[in-house]
């Protein structure tokens, strides 16, 4: 009883759906819902998180992310331009910087900024400045590579046309090449912001006052309450998604827009 190709595909699809449905049913039947609820979805504990988790923790996460993105973007642009410079020393410095900060865990950089630099140089930064520098410098390394690719993707004729109109090199870069490069790297740049949002959780290492708590620290603090279970962390996770999912959608929209103008 030979089946046609189309029939075989239909049967295969039905079997896959069937297996998935079976797995869900088995999980629902045999899972210990009381324990799961106690661990992750404790309503009383969840209610206690509000409103501070939004007004304080979410707000601080956004502030830490925004501050470090400003440093990351400007530092990244500078490094990308250095990497494309005709002066070899600039290229070497940029390469060294990028390889170092991309290769070292962000955690170590935080420790260095939080504890190493105050001891070594006797300066103590405000917590916001520390986050901005530590996270920003790591982000700059990643953003630099993204921007460099974007700058190189702008056709050479654009620079030639701008220079032919009498623009000095820097002016041609600022008015013609860099704006086009940013348009090209908008989708990957949005992904960098998503990574930064999550990495801002590392700030807990620095030892925070309650008013400086961000989402992860706030959630970790929440689970130390009696009978809280892990619910505070679930709520914190959901808050991250409130930030990152729209960014992901935004990135996809940029991507399809760039694809359209190319086609």
């Amino acid at each position: 009883m030979a089946m046609t190709v189309r029939q075989r595909a239909r049967v295969s699809r039905s079997v896959q759906y069937g297996l998935l449905a079976l797995a869900v049913v088995l999980f629902i039947l045999f899972a210990d819902w009381a324990s799961i609820g106690k661990a992750f979805f404790n309503w009383d504990s969840a209610v206690k998180q509000f409103p501070e988790i939004i007004t304080l923790a979410l707000k601080n996460t956004l502030i830490y992310t925004a501050l470090s993105f400003v440093v990351g973007l400007s530092g990244g642009l500078l490094l990308a331009l250095m990497k494309l410079s005709s002066v070899a020393v600039w290229r070497w410095i940029a390469t060294l910087y990028i390889e170092f900060f991309r290769g070292v865990p962000a955690l170590l950089v935080f420790i260095a900024f939080g504890f190493g630099i105050p001891t070594a140089f006797g300066v103590r930064f405000d917590i916001y400045v520390t986050v901005m520098l530590a996270l920003g410098m790591v982000a700059a390394a990643y953003i630099a590579e993204t921007l460099r690719a974007g700058l190189q993707a702008v056709p050479k004729g654009q620079l030639e046309a701008a220079r032919s109109l009498g623009m000095p090199h820097w002016r041609a870069m600022v008015s013609i090449v860099i704006p086009q490069a940013f348009k090209i790297v908008l989708p990957p740049l949005t992904n960098e912001v998503i990574l930064l949002t999550k990495d801002s959780s590392l700030v807990y290492l620095l030892g925070l006052a309650a008013s400086q708590y961000e989402l992860t620290k706030f959630g970790r603090d929440g689970i130390t309450q009696p009978n809280a279970g892990l619910t505070p962390l679930v709520i914190a996770g959901a808050c991250y998604l409130i930030i990152t999912v729209p960014l992901g959608i935004l990135a996809r929209r940029f991507e399809s827009r760039t694809a359209k103008t190319k086609g």
Partner: protein, 265 residues
């Protein structure tokens, strides 16, 4: 009457000539220009023709220093552009360049393409720059499309905007690097018409082209290049109509009659 208006227009354009002496350019061991001498008088239209790889585009790009020549001198207007101390940007303001691939700025509208260098380089006010830009867009017949972006224009329209962009800097010399080679056949005529008008107004033009009809009609002089040297130059009618050099004759036979098959090869 028509005569006097066109000569009035000719006076409006401050013409600059080009003088190229003993120009050599190599890429590694590959010598592309092997000692070129070329004069373009103010107000003159000179067409460079020749097979691809003959060095004509490289020669053109040397004039505004998009390529750095190795040996020789180039005078453009009051500048010796091969002088190492020359202010390249100042020299380039006087020299308009039109590319084969248009190279319009895709993030700017047609009007902004024509204003950006005016405001940033010549420091004209936005209003003045827009007025000059609109005048030049009208000159190429596209003032009604000033707010369009390059990707909303046809190839021929883009190239005309590119010409208007160069003209907005009030150049004394215009360089054209195969301006119609990337165009659909039906839009070539519009671009050539714009260039013809420009020539009539007295603009000094150096044009690399494969359009023999245009060269014959518009050029004061035609220069045939092959293998990095000038093989033959003279009045358009003579070089294209009655070439004396065998290489020129062969090139023109192939270009003017593409179906001709040379059995000897």
């Amino acid at each position: 009457m028509a005569e006097s208006t066109s000569s009035a227009a000719a006076k409006q354009i401050q013409a600059a000539g080009v003088s190229i002496k003993e120009l050599r350019k190599s890429y590694g061991s590959n010598e592309v220009l092997k000692g070129i001498d070329l004069e373009v008088a103010p107000g003159e239209v000179v067409c460079l023709i020749g097979p691809s790889g003959s060095g004509k585009s490289t020669l053109l790009r040397c004039v505004n220093l998009l390529e750095q020549p190795n040996v020789g001198t180039i005078h453009v207007g009051g500048f010796e552009s091969t002088d190492p101390d020359v202010d390249i940007d100042k020299m380039r303001r006087k020299v308009g360049m039109v590319f084969q691939q248009f190279n319009l700025f895709p993030h700017l509208s047609a009007l902004q393409n024509c204003t950006i260098a005016q405001t940033k380089v010549l420091k004209r006010s936005q209003a003045d720059a827009a007025e000059v830009a609109r005048k030049n867009l009208a000159r190429v017949g596209l003032d009604h499309l000033a707010d369009r972006f390059p990707d909303q224009l046809s190839g021929g329209q883009q190239q005309r905007v590119a010409i208007a962009r160069a003209l907005s800097m009030d150049p004394e010399l215009m360089l054209f690097d195969e301006p119609t080679s990337a165009l659909d056949p039906e839009t070539v005529g519009d671009v050539l018409a714009v260039m013809r008008n420009l020539a009539k107004e007295g603009m000094t033009m150096l044009v690399v082209t494969h359009e023999m009809g245009f060269a014959r009609e518009v050029a004061d002089r035609v220069v045939f290049m092959d293998g990095g040297v000038v093989v033959e130059e003279g009045a358009a009618e003579q070089v294209i109509g009655a070439p004396t050099q065998p290489r020129t004759q062969e090139f023109l036979r192939r270009v003017l009659d593409p179906t001709h098959i040379d059995i000897a090869e």
